[in-house]
């Protein structure tokens, strides 16, 4: 009976061992990102200060998720879980802001 099951799942965890180089490269990218974030906050970039801080933070998070958390080698289901979480978070942000950003609009 269990033989049929083996067709669906492999016997041992499919362990993809990431190389040391990748880990260190990611680490340096994160460190540089931190320094750039700090530096960017000290200079006046007009309206771009906030977006740049957000973009760098997002890139750093994506690096950690993909490499340190091995999502890049994970099943499609893991991808779905990760993407869905951020999608739902997006729903919370977008619809809440939909209220706050339109409160000032005048009724014509």
């Amino acid at each position: 009976m269990a033989d049929t099951h083996h067709e669906q799942l492999e016997h041992a965890p499919h362990s993809h061992v990431t190389g040391l180089g990748v880990y260190f490269a990611v680490f340096f990218a994160l460190a540089i990102g931190t320094i750039v974030t700090w530096y960017a906050s000290t200079i006046d970039l007009g309206m771009w200060n906030t977006p740049i801080a957000l973009i760098i933070a997002t890139i750093k998070a994506v690096l950690v998720i993909l490499f340190f958390m091995h999502v890049i080698h994970s099943t499609r289901l893991t991808w779905v879980v990760v993407v869905a979480s951020f999608l739902w978070l997006g729903v919370l942000f977008v619809l809440t802001f939909a209220d706050y950003l339109t409160r000032g609009w005048a009724m014509k």
Binding site: H11, A12, H14, V17, T50, F68, L89, F97
Partner: protein
């Protein structure tokens, strides 16, 4: 029909294979998937307070910039680097488990714990400074620099303490889990066949790191202080 007992015994049993799983592959898949599900709840947990933070940040940009300016970006920056290092060592600990090296697992897990503790110590120093400066919200809150924005600075400080506090709480829990994992690694529980607990520990630790990656610019580095 085959013998009923045969279904349970016709492949070798790893000591950590639980009875209701068919094999370690299924068990590993289930536990990492479970951890990812847990992390998605964590994303929405921190996401909720971040959403509130951003609503007010858009409403009160000057107060937010002014309040973030009160934070010690040097401590925040050092802590960011400390956490990134601990994330690296955590990832290397998982790798050591995958490769079956008990020595490297222990070294890396222990380093992770040390850096996690450094983070908490630095955070504690900051907390103590803010406490003495009167920057804890409530009846003892004191703020003279820009009285008109005092209320909103206090609102910011609610977020500062709330968000970093929840993050620090996660760090403390993580450190506790690390101790447990170190114990198991000491007993040489993990190897190429079975390393799911180390992997899950890693997922948690990296997640906590990611939270800080966002908190650092949000709480310490807001550009745009206009000193009137």
């Amino acid at each position: 029909m085959s013998d009923i007992a045969a279904g349970n015994e016709h492949h070798h049993h790893h000591p950590f294979l639980q009875h209701h799983f068919e094999d370690l592959g299924q068990q590993h898949e289930a536990s990492t998937l479970g951890m990812w599900m847990f992390l998605s709840t964590e994303i929405l947990f921190f996401g909720g307070i971040l959403c509130a933070y951003w609503i007010y940040r858009v409403m009160y940009p000057e107060a937010w910039a002014l309040a973030a300016h009160q934070q010690n970006a040097l401590y925040g920056g050092i802590n960011t680097i400390v956490l990134i290092i601990s994330s690296l060592t955590m990832a290397l600990a998982v790798r050591a488990a995958q490769l079956g090296s008990r020595t490297w697992q222990l070294i890396m897990l222990f380093t992770t714990l040390i850096f996690g503790s450094i983070f908490l110590v630095v955070k504690g120093i900051e907390y103590s400074m803010h406490w003495h400066e009167g920057l804890f919200p409530g009846s003892h809150f004191t703020w003279h620099e820009h009285p008109a924005l005092a209320q909103k600075v206090q609102l910011f400080m609610c977020f500062y303490w709330g968000m970093t506090g929840l993050h620090a709480l996660h760090m403390v829990i993580g450190a506790g889990l690390l101790l447990w994992i170190i114990g198991r690694a000491w007993r040489n529980d993990f190897g190429p066949e079975y390393y799911a607990p180390v992997e899950i520990m890693g997922l948690y630790w990296h997640f906590v790191d990611i939270v800080w990656i966002f908190l650092f610019p949000f709480l310490y580095l807001i550009h745009g202080v206009h000193h009137g």
